[in-house]
């Protein structure tokens, strides 16, 4: 799993990545300096939960992909079987191109996923 996370991190503009279980527990992470694993896990999980609840309430089911943009960077949350891939990028990342590659790695992660905490 870490190898795939490293592949994500090697993409231009990516600052770090993490896999969380569906319970919001961190399963594996490779975060760059300046990113606190505990904080990212706690708030990425809360954000995912809050967005999912609102989306499900609107009748659309669990979102497959959530992009959070903020002035200092973006957080991408991509659903993979029973878990979530969280990727933190620089604010200037070209979202369309970057997302395609991240989605591709997420699909491979989904196949390889065996959650271990």
């Amino acid at each position: 799993m870490k190898k795939l996370l490293q592949e994500v991190n090697d993409l231009p503009g990516v600052m770090g990545s993490m896999v969380m279980t569906e319970d919001g527990l961190p399963a594996a992470s490779l975060l760059g300096s300046g990113l606190d694993e505990e904080c990212v896990a706690a708030f990425a999980s809360s954000s995912r939960l809050a967005v999912s609840r609102a989306a499900i309430h609107c009748g659309e089911g669990e979102p497959q992909e959530v992009v959070l943009e903020s002035e200092g960077g973006n957080l991408l949350l991509i659903g993979i079987d029973g878990a979530t891939l969280a990727v933190i990028t620089h604010p200037g990342l070209e979202m369309n191109t970057g997302l395609v590659e991240i989605r591709s790695i997420a699909r491979r992660l989904s196949g390889a996923l065996k959650i271990r905490i």
């Binding site: 999980s45 609102a54 609107c58 960077g73 271990r116």
Partner: protein
């Protein structure tokens, strides 16, 4: 043996004695009693009462310090035995016990290692999750650390799911709910263990708090966290909500900086659940990105099953819009941006 020791031998009159020790203003007396118990060699009872006291009289620095001392000294004395136990009979429970002892002694990396080892050894045993949860819960209680609170909640939820009715899990979950000032939810969690252990000091302390605290009016745990963090509760006035003119097939909601609903499109639901979910979403996102080191939140886009949910930070609040047509992402983004900049009529 002190007062508590004498009391513990009695099967009657418990209510009177307990109400005395956990009554308001009894913190000093409880400390004296704990001291007597330690002197009398009954450390488990001392720890049990002190733990109850730290919950009942929270925040209670003297009690926390005394509890730390007793627990540390207990951990020092049992560490060797626990290490042997792990080597001789390696189970998730033994690994979790060692994790908790190391945590008491301030070895957080060792504690985390053994807790994770416990989870790996038996992912269906709640012991490892509970050990991690308790460590976070202690930090949340003592340092008012929101990150620790969120992690405590996640690990406790997992532990409770793995073994519904597990007494220690329920006690810890009730404690977390009381710290979040949710006595109604805490009372529900306590119910199954009240019958099993009605004289447990911790149960008595928490019962006492559930009766004293004003009832919460939400069952949304994220809303409880936001109230705890901000100290404010959004109040929605159904009569004062404006109308947002929206493109066809789009629903929109707008909240002010206090997470209070101020306007919706005509087709958007204004029921309590919907308003609370979006209010929580606004508060969660506003707080999350700065805490992750990403600065102020500006926008989110959630895509799923052909539908789209977008949220945008406005100068004095947040706007959300939802459509069933995924293909309209670009036009919807433009519309919501224009609405934010005030070009759209409110």
């Amino acid at each position: 043996m002190g007062l508590i020791g004498t009391w513990m031998k009695k099967t009657h009159n418990t209510e009177k004695e307990t109400s005395g020790l956990l009554a308001r203003g009894s913190a000093a007396r409880l400390l004296d009693t704990v001291h007597d118990l330690v002197q009398g060699g009954d450390r488990p009872a001392a720890v049990s009462w002190l733990r109850a006291g730290t919950v009942r009289f929270h925040p209670w620095e003297q009690g926390e310090i005394a509890l730390d001392e007793i627990e540390r000294s207990g951990a020092r004395e049992t560490l060797g035995v626990l290490q042997d136990a792990v080597e001789l009979n390696y189970t998730a429970t033994e690994a979790a016990r060692l994790s908790e002892a190391l945590e008491r002694l301030g070895d957080s990396s060792g504690s985390t290692l053994w807790a994770h080892a416990a989870i790996q050894e038996d992912p269906c045993d709640p012991a490892g999750y509970l050990a991690i949860a308790r460590s976070y819960l202690r930090r949340f209680r003592r340092q008012d650390d929101a990150v620790a609170g969120l992690h405590a909640l996640r690990y406790l939820t997992k532990a409770c799911q793995l073994k519904p009715g597990h007494r220690e899990c329920l006690r810890s979950l009730a404690m977390l709910l009381l710290l979040l000032r949710a006595p109604v939810a805490a009372a529900k969690v306590l119910q199954p263990i009240e019958n099993d252990t009605p004289e447990d000091p911790m149960v008595l302390a928490m019962q006492s708090l559930t009766q004293r605290m004003p009832a919460e009016n939400t069952t949304n745990i994220q809303e409880l966290f936001l109230r705890w963090e901000t100290g404010t509760t959004p109040v929605h006035f159904p009569d004062g909500i404006g109308v947002i003119p929206c493109p066809d097939g789009v629903k929109a909601w707008e909240f002010d900086e206090n997470r209070t609903l101020i306007a919706t499109s005509t087709s958007a639901s204004r029921d309590t659940d919907t308003v609370e979910l979006f209010s929580v979403l606004a508060g969660t996102l506003t707080g999350a990105t700065p805490r992750m080191g990403l600065g102020e939140f500006s926008k989110f886009t959630a895509r799923g099953h052909g539908t789209l949910l977008i949220g945008l930070a406005a100068p004095d609040g947040m706007i959300f819009c939802h459509t069933d047509r995924h293909s309209r992402e670009e036009s919807l983004s433009r519309w919501i941006e224009s609405h934010r900049s005030g070009e759209t009529y409110r």
